[in-house]
């Protein structure tokens, strides 16, 4: 169950140098920008970051990368029209990239939260992303063995939390939030609104509170962020 914090800085306290940090979001939708900004201010470096992308524009994950805090990124789609912060570090050899097919990324994160030791996936079979990995034919289909991705911290953005940490998301900003919340030792969530216990319908809760450790309310996103999206 979650503890409610007053500031993003308090919510991200304790993320050490060298930590593995999952960061929710697909592009900017669902990206916990204020938590990432607090992480930058907190000073942690040599991070391994797990995210679908490698930052958009100049805020949030892009800024974390620009500041040189990310030693290694695990993602499916780093190269975008607005991924200049990552591109520069990558070309300079200052960031390591583990490229993972998006469905395997999601399933490996899910496996970590679900206690699965490894799984055979058809995705990537026969491609460079399966090189060196164990393969097996099962019922006439070819599979690659993939392992869980775990993290020390997950930083997630949701729409509403109750005071226990039960979460609901909004539209496609849900994306990686629910699976990352379950895959990290400590899950930190920024929300637009916190309601009393009982304020969320039990049928509609997407992330049950046992996956959430820390919650902080942040002001609704600034229009500037939407403007930066490409």
């Amino acid at each position: 169950m979650a503890q409610v914090f007053q500031t993003p800085a308090e919510a991200v306290a304790g993320i050490a140098d060298g930590a593995t940090v999952m960061i929710g979001g697909f592009g900017s939708a669902g990206q916990p920008v204020e938590l990432i900004e607090a992480l930058i201010e907190g000073g942690a470096s040599e991070l391994t970051v797990v995210n679908n992308n490698a930052g958009n524009g100049d805020r949030g994950l892009a800024a974390l990368i620009r500041e040189g805090r990310v030693r290694r990124i695990v993602c499916s789609f780093p190269r975008q029209s607005d991924s200049w912060c990552f591109d520069e570090k990558y070309r300079a050899g200052e960031i390591e990239l583990e490229l993972v097919a998006q469905g395997n990324l999601a399933e490996r994160i899910r496996a970590a939260g679900a206690g699965i030791g490894a799984f055979f996936t058809p995705t990537g079979y026969g491609t460079p992303l399966a090189e060196g990995k164990e393969v097996r034919e099962i019922d006439g289909r070819h599979y690659v063995l993939e392992y869980p991705i775990r993290a020390d911290f997950a930083l997630v953005s949701a729409d509403v939390a109750d005071e226990l940490g039960n979460l609901v998301y909004r539209k496609t900003a849900r994306n990686f939030g629910p699976i990352m919340a379950a895959a990290a030792t400590t899950t930190v969530v920024q929300v637009r609104r916190i309601v009393a216990v009982g304020g969320l319908d039990p049928e509609h809760i997407v992330t049950p509170c046992l996956y959430v450790n820390r919650v902080v309310r942040v002001e609704a996103r600034t229009p500037a962020l939407a403007g930066e999206r490409q």
């Binding site: 499916s76 490229l99 097919a101 998006q102 469905g103 395997n104």
Partner: protein
């Protein structure tokens, strides 16, 4: 060959693909050229669009006041929601692909091989930053994978090839290739030319290094 005036333009090609999508299908349109197919789908046919970032029932691009930063498609473009839509997280979204629950996905390509191998995610050039996204999951997960591309690259090389030279996206996963100059069906017998635009069967056989079966008279 790409200069042949009678080849289809991108919109005509998208319309052709849209016509081949059965009513009531669940379809995922890859980023780039395939996105155009949505402009030609008749809403009355009840085709539902899936987007990898967690939505079934995606509507057209959002404009003006409709724009909602929480509602985007796989290309990170703001979109809208149709009645009957639903949202789900990323593991569930890719389970839909991998589990074979999408009827059709439409993808762009660098190359397609005679046996349906697909190369569409990476040039393989050391100076290019690789990015795969959901392409590998889509390519092998949907019941049918359609490719939309020009038949020839800018340097004149055919993009239907005996064996892909670009890094693979998936093995034996493409069932149809829609190009500006013709439609190709890939099945167990080989590559069947369904129809051609602006050149005849003998001409295409000369230009493409893959053995072709003439299906243009069916």
């Amino acid at each position: 060959m790409t200069a042949i005036a009678t080849g289809l333009d991108r919109d005509a090609l998208a319309a052709l693909v849209a016509r081949d999508v059965p009513a009531g299908s669940v379809v995922n349109l890859g980023i780039g050229l395939p996105t155009k197919v949505s402009n030609h789908l008749d809403p009355a046919t009840g085709v539902m669009l899936h987007t990898e970032n967690g939505m079934l029932g995606m509507g057209p691009e959002a404009h003006g006041d409709e724009v909602d930063p929480d509602l985007i498609n796989a290309g990170k473009v703001p979109v809208t929601e149709l009645p009957g839509a639903s949202y789900f997280h990323h593991a569930d979204s890719f389970a839909m692909m991998r589990g074979g629950h999408l009827d059709i996905c439409v993808l762009g390509a660098y190359q397609v091989s005679a046996t349906g191998d697909l190369a569409n995610w990476h040039t393989g050039r050391p100076e290019d930053i690789p990015a795969v996204g959901g392409a590998m999951d889509l390519a092998l997960g949907a019941k049918q994978t359609f490719v939309m591309m020009s038949l020839f690259s800018r340097d004149g090389a055919a993009k239907i090839v005996p064996s892909c030279t670009y890094p693979l996206t998936g093995v034996a996963c493409v069932s149809r290739v829609y190009t500006d100059l013709g439609v190709f069906l890939i099945d167990e017998e080989g590559v069947v030319v369904r129809e051609l635009f602006g050149l005849d069967f003998a001409q295409v056989c000369d230009l493409v290094e893959v053995p072709l079966i003439d299906g243009t008279h069916h």
